[in-house]
């Protein structure tokens, strides 16, 4: 198995506060890897560093052996490492379908001038993006609402739309930021299937999550952070009985879900 994404000794400081401290792990092609940890463990910061929305203070992130940390986010996205957002971050004023079509931007063969004059390539692109968007929306069961304005959708569908936007960029690695947060049992179950289906399309998935049950069910491997440090790494089974992890979660006030029978 080739290592697609390598996180090496990444440290991120904000002033005096160390949010991520010397964390290393890697993700192989086709894997689903999750990063978990109690509140304030540094998950989100690490996520932003990997997607290059933040520069690491020390260490680096490599994709296919090439250093991507420090590059502009859109360049990282062009290389195939695409993130979704924890918040319901979508293009609120556009229709669902337009949201997905615009996300095909990266696949475009024509340049902007070509689109402006309506060149043959540009028209071909437009037609193809429309088809592809419909296909993605159907794949995620969003076909029925594709002409709704995004800001009117309920929470769960927005999350799916976020994933649809991510998929439309044709990513090699999809970084999902808390895809199950705020979902009820049934919604989570559906979302888990969705993520699996995404992997079936050949997309490697790295997700940051809170919800232990879902993570245990879905992940090939799990990385556990606490206070910015990596305290464990392994398969769900290994993590489940790792005493350090149990202690970390018990030690925190509000995290008791899923770990203990």
């Amino acid at each position: 198995m080739t290592q697609l994404l390598q996180v090496s000794q990444v440290t991120k400081r904000f002033g005096g506060l160390v949010a991520v401290n010397d964390v290393s792990f890697s993700v192989a092609e086709g894997e689903i890897v999750s990063v978990i940890g109690p509140n304030g463990a540094g998950k989100s910061t690490l996520f932003k560093v990997i997607s290059s929305f933040l520069k690491p203070t020390a260490g680096e992130v490599r994709f296919r052996g090439e250093r991507i940390s420090g590059l502009a986010p859109h360049i990282v996205a062009r290389k195939g490492v695409v993130r979704t957002f924890q918040e319901t971050t979508i293009f609120r004023g556009m229709t669902v379908r337009d949201n997905v079509i615009i996300a095909h931007h990266l696949r475009s063969k024509a340049n902007l001038a070509g689109f402006f004059v309506g060149s043959a390539t540009a028209r071909r692109d437009e037609a193809e993006f429309g088809r592809s968007a419909d296909q993605i929306l159907n794949f995620l069961d969003l076909g029925a609402i594709k002409n709704e304005v995004a800001s009117t959708l309920p929470h769960g569908l927005l999350r799916a739309l976020g994933i649809a936007i991510g998929l439309a960029t044709d990513p090699t690695v999809l970084l999902l930021d808390e895809p199950f947060a705020g979902m009820n049992h049934a919604e989570t179950k559906r979302a888990v299937e969705l993520v699996r289906a995404v992997r079936e399309r050949g997309v490697t998935v790295l997700l940051v999550e809170h919800d232990m049950v879902a993570v245990m069910r879905i992940s090939d491997r799990i990385v556990v952070l606490n206070f910015g440090l990596k305290i464990a790494e392994g398969t769900p089974a290994e993590i489940q009985c790792n005493p350090k992890v149990i202690e970390a979660y018990l030690g925190s006030e509000d995290e008791t879900i899923g770990l203990l029978p």
Partner: protein, 324 residues
């Protein structure tokens, strides 16, 4: 809208402004309307630029600066270097675009009121520069700029020398409305092509846009450069009509007016700034007869408009869509 319909609409528009309006003016003898409509056309070109910056989510109160730079570029080239006005017109636009890239790179990182403020200050900086730089002839401005000359190609006169014309107002009017038509056709095309969608994605969420691979910094600069290009063109045309330019030819008031034109027409509609400029300019002109109460009535009407149509005049359209 189908291509044929679009073509028909464009033809109808051109026919009305190039044939019907001159005919109506000739029939009524209202020759002063030429200049009024010319002003509207040119101001709406500059406003279109401001609208485009609104479209990427930036409040631009700095268009006066580019109009001033454009006006001076053209005037200096014509007066001091003897370049033909018709050549200076695109040069003025391009010079403004180039300047706006340099200025835009640092300031486009700002958002909201901060960007608005910085651009407002930019207008004042441009005025003070025009006063201080030797090349602009400083406080005494530039006067007696020659009228646009002829364009000849292989001995055929394509455009006559404006100085020899019976009615240069009509000539300026035609040039201005043609420029306006080109500008809005281009803007319409741009907004309805991929670039427009990308600009919209920027307006709605810059982070998400960059996560799907949009080079937001580049796109912002491009949009801003186009915007400034339009400002420069408008300014250069005005300098040619007034045959003079002063550091105070475009001021903060103009910058604010360009912005208000966009608001009034509607930020969501490509043709918003055109309608906005028309209504604001003519509204003021209309009230000319009310003498000292002009400003009072004008502002009251504006407030009423905002109360009833807070999303701009074009939101009146029954089939109003989100995007124009």
């Amino acid at each position: 809208m189908s291509p044929t319909k679009k073509l028909a609409a464009t033809a109808a528009f051109l026919a009305s402004v190039l044939v019907a309006v001159p005919w109506a003016i000739a029939a009524t003898g209202r020759n002063d309307l030429y200049y009024t409509l010319t002003s509207v056309a040119l101001l709406s070109i500059a406003s279109a630029g401001v609208w485009l910056t609104f479209y990427i989510g930036r409040i631009n109160i700095g268009q006066g600066a580019y109009a001033l730079i454009g006006g001076y570029t053209s005037a200096i080239l014509v007066v001091d270097y003897g370049v033909s006005f018709w050549l200076t017109l695109p040069i003025a636009g391009l010079f403004c675009a180039a300047a706006s890239v340099l200025i835009g790179l640092p300031i486009l990182r700002l958002r909201g009121v901060y960007f608005a403020m910085v651009t407002l200050v930019l207008t004042e900086v441009a005025r003070l520069l025009a006063l201080a730089l030797p090349i602009t002839h400083g406080a005494s401005g530039m006067v007696s700029i020659p009228a646009p000359g002829a364009i000849r190609l292989f001995g055929v006169t394509l455009v006559p020398d404006f100085a020899t014309l019976q009615n240069p107002r009509l000539a300026f009017y035609i040039v201005s409305v043609v420029l306006m038509a080109l500008c809005y056709a281009g803007l319409y095309r741009l907004v309805h092509s991929r670039m427009g969608r990308l600009c919209l994605s920027l307006q709605q969420n810059e982070e998400l846009a960059s996560s799907i691979g949009v080079n937001i910094a580049w796109l912002r600069v491009v949009a801003y450069a186009i915007s400034s290009f339009l400002g420069g063109i408008g300014g250069a045309m005005f300098a040619a009509i007034a045959q003079s330019i002063y550091p105070s030819s475009f001021t903060v008031t103009d910058s604010v007016n360009f912005m208000l034109n966009c608001f009034l027409g509607g930020l969501g509609y490509v043709f918003g700034p055109m309608i906005g400029t028309f209504v604001l300019y003519f509204g003021w002109d209309f009230l000319f007869q009310t003498g000292e109460y002009q400003l009072l009535i004008y502002s009251s009407l504006l407030i009423a408009l905002m109360l009833f149509l807070p999303n701009g005049l074009l939101s009146l359209r029954p089939a109003a869509k989100k995007r124009g």
